[in-house]
Symmetry: C2
Subunit: 217 residues, 2 copies
DNA sequence: CTAAAGTTGTGAAATATTGCACAGCGTGAT
DNA sequence: ATCACGCTGTGCAATATTTCACAACTTTAG
């Protein structure tokens, strides 16, 4: 219905997610309005950038009173979230996978990891961190059954590409990849790789070039 | 000694780290040369970008034979690594922290997590995933003693800022932050935040805008 | 020896992203 | 009622990053 503005940049989407989380915190603390310069600190940007980001969600600011927090949360959520809670799959229940299960288990109201998959038959059928673990063979079927279109990939590097291929063929729409391997996809599947090793090596590198000051994701 | 080229972008540093990892794999498989277009696939960029990145390390390519892998690894390492292996500290030995200990424990020859810290006294003194766990009180002293200047922060959001402050005051030079909180620092401390929740929400968002195809870190 | 094919290094264009700066407006003080 | 102040929305400039495109060079084939 709403005339869809062309394209919101990935960076902006990330920041909106961070703003929302912070806004929820503020709301819990009893605040009801924020200024762009307050929000700018949590992403180390400028106030102008925040205002620009917020314009994307259909701006609600009010001169000299700032933004109304609850309204802002609502608008950001309208943009970021689907109408219904998203079901997520976790692939790979090793150390990292289990940690992620724990990490993402808090009270999220827009998504939920509903199933875990692992190639180790010993894990199949068990409940791990509150989620049922299935065998990899069941993946294609379960993705459809549970209406999952986003997956978290936490398998070893060696199997990342093969598993990703399976996911894509099973109709997944987005993958958050923790394996230190690039995933190629001709199709329209969105892949976000969090390369922890590169991130650490980058930190190590810049620990010696202590010039700049830096930001986030 | 070498006239230091002004500034290498963070993006480039990340990609160099990824190239190197891939190059090591190739070397193990017996290959001894690569072309820029082969490397470009592992970061989903263009060949030109790879060549540009490699120029930063002092380019060694050879027309129509590509780059010699072992030489490239050596040059990238010369740029990325310090002369000596870097000691890293992990702060926060919860689920995520332990997973990170495991994740980073493989055979790394340029860095090593040598100590873990946690505010829970019950963990202090124990060996977790092969690393000794210290109490937070010991942090300032141990950082100096072990010559640690990079830390991985895996504490809950609530304590992230306070702990980061302690780290900075103790002279840390870079922080890889997993807590969903922005860390502010006036000083020249490098902070890299890996916001897993934002990353997942971004993936969820783009799972519905299945237009583009995307890359990495 | 010559030509064809394929690759590197890189200037220059194209994009993407960020920051500046100011008009316009609401608020509170006088 | 008026004015000073502070904040938003945004055009525009400044950066940062990526891609294009092509000259120069190597190898291989004929």
């Amino acid at each position: 219905m709403s005339k869809n503005q062309k394209k919101i940049s990935e960076k902006t989407i990330e920041r909106l997610s961070a703003y929302r989380r912070y806004l929820k915190d503020l709301l819990k603390k009893g605040k009801d309005r924020v200024y762009s310069h307050e929000l700018s600190q949590i992403v180390s940007g400028t106030a102008a950038q925040v205002r620009r980001d917020l314009m994307e969600v259909g701006c609600n600011g009010c001169s000299s009173k700032g933004y109304e927090i609850s309204l802002l949360i609502e608008e950001i959520s309208k943009l970021l979230d689907c109408s219904d809670k998203q079901n997520i799959a976790l692939i790979g229940v090793g150390n990292l996978g289990r940690a992620l299960l724990g990490y993402f288990s808090g009270s999220r109201d827009n998504f939920d990891i509903v199933a875990a998959f692992d190639s180790d038959p010993g894990k199949s059928g068990r409940i791990i961190c509150g989620r049922r673990c299935y065998d990899m063979e069941q993946l294609p079927a379960m993705l459809g059954e549970l209406k999952i279109n986003t997956a978290i990939l936490a398998v070893p590097a060696e199997s990342a590409e093969k598993v990703a291929q399976t996911l894509i063929e099973s109709g997944i729409k987005a993958i958050l990849n923790f394996a230190p391997r690039h995933i190629t996809t001709g199709s329209g599947v969105f892949i976000e790789t969090l390369d922890m090793t590169s991130a650490l090596e980058k930190a190590i590198y810049f620990s010696r070039k202590n010039t700049q000051q830096r930001k986030s994701t």
